[in-house]
């Protein structure tokens, strides 16, 4: 993998010559990313005639720009409407929406954009310079290691449900059980499908996402004439450029936070099959764990927006590494890119960096340029986009329902998914009104099937030997890290209690 200044400078110049294409692709990507149910993969598939007709360098510039922009766009609706554009931005709702309700929607959007940019750029830079070493990670991450990584995400159920642990755990395990609907991973026999053939592939995630977030949120928001609190409404009406600048300052006061959560995203993204949703939830869980004020998470704090957004975009870099280095796509969009590159006669894997290193490294240069472009195009828009929450809820709620239902239908094209969305909307509404955490439910639905698949795979490979889970050195290190992660909050709490009791007796 011969990296030289000449290759990098050539790629920068190539990307700058196609700046107009990057602007178009990132605009499409942000819009697509903000719409639940519409992903970058579908969009690139629709635009295949274009990507197949142009040179492979141009096609990659277009696809990579659109891909990273879709990761950034997901946070917009998470923050303003509590509706994640995709699984990777579901964790952003936890603190993004409370910030918007307080009238800090503009600052939250800026935090999201800056964290996405920093997370994306840092991980793209790391990928360029450490590509040969980072790529090896993919070889060490097997089913056993994935089980531990997924458990990191699942422990977030306990964290988000800390205000009512019992109800949170009930919601989480109900989510895990809902995630276990569908054909099993070994024999493909249907489980808990109620006889519906549409559920054989499992419960469609987008239907759950739109139901428990969008539909239930629309029903809840009818309680008030506005999404905003009275104070928040006043702040939002007077908001101007100052708030955008405040968001930028807030972001860069937490630069290290953006960097390390982005790196979490990069590492998880490298593992083929691991998605941005795992990265975002794990980053949020880790951010909360090491915070001095974990009790403030979920109330609308900047760290709660930065962590998932940075990880979500760090994951975008990670997703493409196995594609380029070993020829294995890390996600659906990477798989579509693989098709386009293969059509153009590009050989992926180590040979790519010998025959056409410019194309291999150029992917990450495109990411750098696309993020820089997006920062300059999105930041000025935050002032206007954030005003969306000023629309009265009797107008906003029906619009949310009408357009998110399209997202529930689009991925599979089944009317069944629309009815399922309405059922999950009703479940989400009851959960919210009775104190059952919908995020805990969603974590179970998203991560449950992945956990089951990896546990089964590990057992199958080892001949059903349960010791396989402690047989790998990398896995064992991760187990220790998980145990430490779980123990730290109790230890911190114990020390705080002891210090408080000492202070009281002194």
């Amino acid at each position: 993998m011969n990296l030289s200044f000449q290759i990098l400078s050539d790629q920068f110049l190539l990307n700058f010559s196609y700046l107009w294409l990057i602007v178009i692709a990132t605009t499409i990507g942000i819009i697509i990313g903000a719409m639940p149910g519409f992903g970058s993969a579908n969009t690139i598939i629709m635009l295949l005639p274009f990507t197949l007709a142009v040179d492979v360098d141009v096609a990659m510039i277009f696809m990579v720009s659109l891909f990273v922009a879709s990761h950034m766009g997901g946070g917009i609706t998470s923050i303003l409407l509590n509706i994640p554009g995709n699984g990777g931005s579901a964790a952003t709702c936890l603190d993004g929406y409370p910030m918007a309700r307080k009238g800090l929607g503009q600052q939250a959007l800026v935090l999201s954009f800056v964290a996405s940019t920093v997370g994306g750029m840092v991980t793209a830079l790391l990928s360029i310079f450490l590509l040969p070493y980072i790529a090896r990670l993919a070889f060490y991450m097997h089913s056993v290691e994935m089980v531990v990584i997924l458990l990191f995400g699942i422990t977030l159920i306990a964290s988000v449900a800390s205000d009512n642990m019992l109800k949170g755990l009930i919601a989480g395990f109900l989510g895990l059980l809902i995630g276990a609907i569908g054909a099993d991973h070994i024999y493909s026999t249907p489980r808990g499908t109620f006889g519906f053939i549409e559920l054989y592939d499992g419960v469609p995630l987008i239907a759950v996402l739109i139901g428990v977030f969008a539909i239930s949120e629309a029903l809840i928001m009818m309680e008030n004439s506005s999404v905003l609190s009275d104070a928040g409404r006043q702040m939002m009406k007077q908001a101007g450029w100052k708030e955008t600048w405040e968001g930028v300052v807030m972001s860069f006061q937490r630069t290290w936070h953006m960097i390390w959560t982005g790196i979490i995203g990069l590492i998880i993204g490298i593992v083929p099959g691991a998605g941005a949703s795992i990265a975002a939830f794990v980053a949020y869980q880790q951010s909360r764990l090491y915070s001095k004020t974990p009790e403030k998470y979920g109330t609308g704090i900047p760290e709660g927006v930065i962590a998932p957004e940075s990880a979500n975009n760090g994951c975008a870099s990670g997703d493409l590494i196995p594609l380029l280095v070993i020829g294995v796509p890390g996600g659906t969009t990477a798989a579509v890119m693989l098709i386009v590159m293969t059509y153009h006669g590009v050989q992926l894997g180590p040979r790519l960096f010998i025959q056409n290193p410019g194309l291999g490294y150029g992917v990450f240069i495109t990411m750098l340029v696309a993020y820089a472009v997006m920062l300059f195009t999105t930041l000025p828009l935050t002032k206007y986009v954030s005003k969306l929450v000023l629309i009265p809820t009797p107008v906003l709620a029906p619009i949310i329902i009408a357009f998110t239902l399209v997202g529930a239908f689009a991925p599979r094209g089944y009317m069944f998914d629309l009815w399922l969305t309405l059922i999950f909307g009703a479940i989400g509404y009851v959960c919210r009104k009775t104190g059952f955490n919908v995020v805990a439910l969603l974590i179970g639905v998203i991560l449950g099937p992945m956990l089951e698949a990896n546990v089964m795979r590990a057992l199958r490979i080892s001949g059903n030997d349960p010791w396989v889970f402690v047989s790998s050195p990398v896995g064992n290190v991760l187990w220790v890290a998980l145990a430490v992660s779980l123990a730290i909050p109790s230890i911190v709490q114990w020390r705080r209690n002891r210090a408080a009791s000492r202070a009281a007796t002194a």
Binding site: L166, I170, P394, A410, C431, K433, F436, G448
Partner: protein
């Protein structure tokens, strides 16, 4: 539930999710009873833990009612008559709009849904509601059907537009 009365905890509506959960877990266990162990191990684990958690929840509630720290309250989902009417209308209109999609198509069902919501919930004049709902439904048609090629069932509007513009 969140609403407290003199420090007491309300319970009643918060039984809906545990009952649904227990019902679903029972059905799930029945549906997998004849499968191989690999196919049911994770489901059995989740269902057992769910039953255990619901059991603890039930025990806590019963003890709370006996000790007087809990009281039965079923109004948290209903709240006020006006709010229940608004929410019920919104959900009923949503269900109706989904039900008519196979015949009316995306554009007309969206227009009808938005128009009814704007008039009924926001109290907009019929003219303004028609203009706003029409503009939004048409924008949705252009974005989702024409550009993104979402395969929604075709309705009279989509068929007419297709015949006129050939797209």
């Amino acid at each position: 539930m969140n609403d407290d009365r003199n420090g007491k905890v309300a319970t009643g509506a918060d039984w809906i999710i545990p009952i649904l959960g227990a019902g679903f877990a029972t059905y799930y266990l029945i549906s997998i009873k004849d499968l191989d162990w690999e196919a049911k191990v994770s489901g059995v684990f989740c269902a057992v833990v769910l039953f255990l958690l619901i059991g603890i929840f039930a025990l806590r509630t019963v003890l709370g009612l006996l000790r007087g720290t809990h009281y039965i309250e079923l109004r948290s989902l209903y709240e006020s008559h006006k709010l229940a009417l608004i929410r019920g209308s919104l959900f009923a209109l949503t269900v109706a709009s989904v039900a008519i999609i196979p015949w009316a198509g995306f554009t007309l069902s969206t227009f009808g849904f938005l128009f009814a919501c704007f008039v009924w919930l926001q109290g907009m004049s019929a003219r303004n509601a028609a203009i706003t709902a029409g503009a939004l439904a048409f924008a949705g048609y252009v974005l989702f059907i024409l550009i993104l090629r979402t395969s929604f069932p075709q309705g009279p509007f989509e068929r007419l537009a297709s015949a006129l513009i050939g797209l």
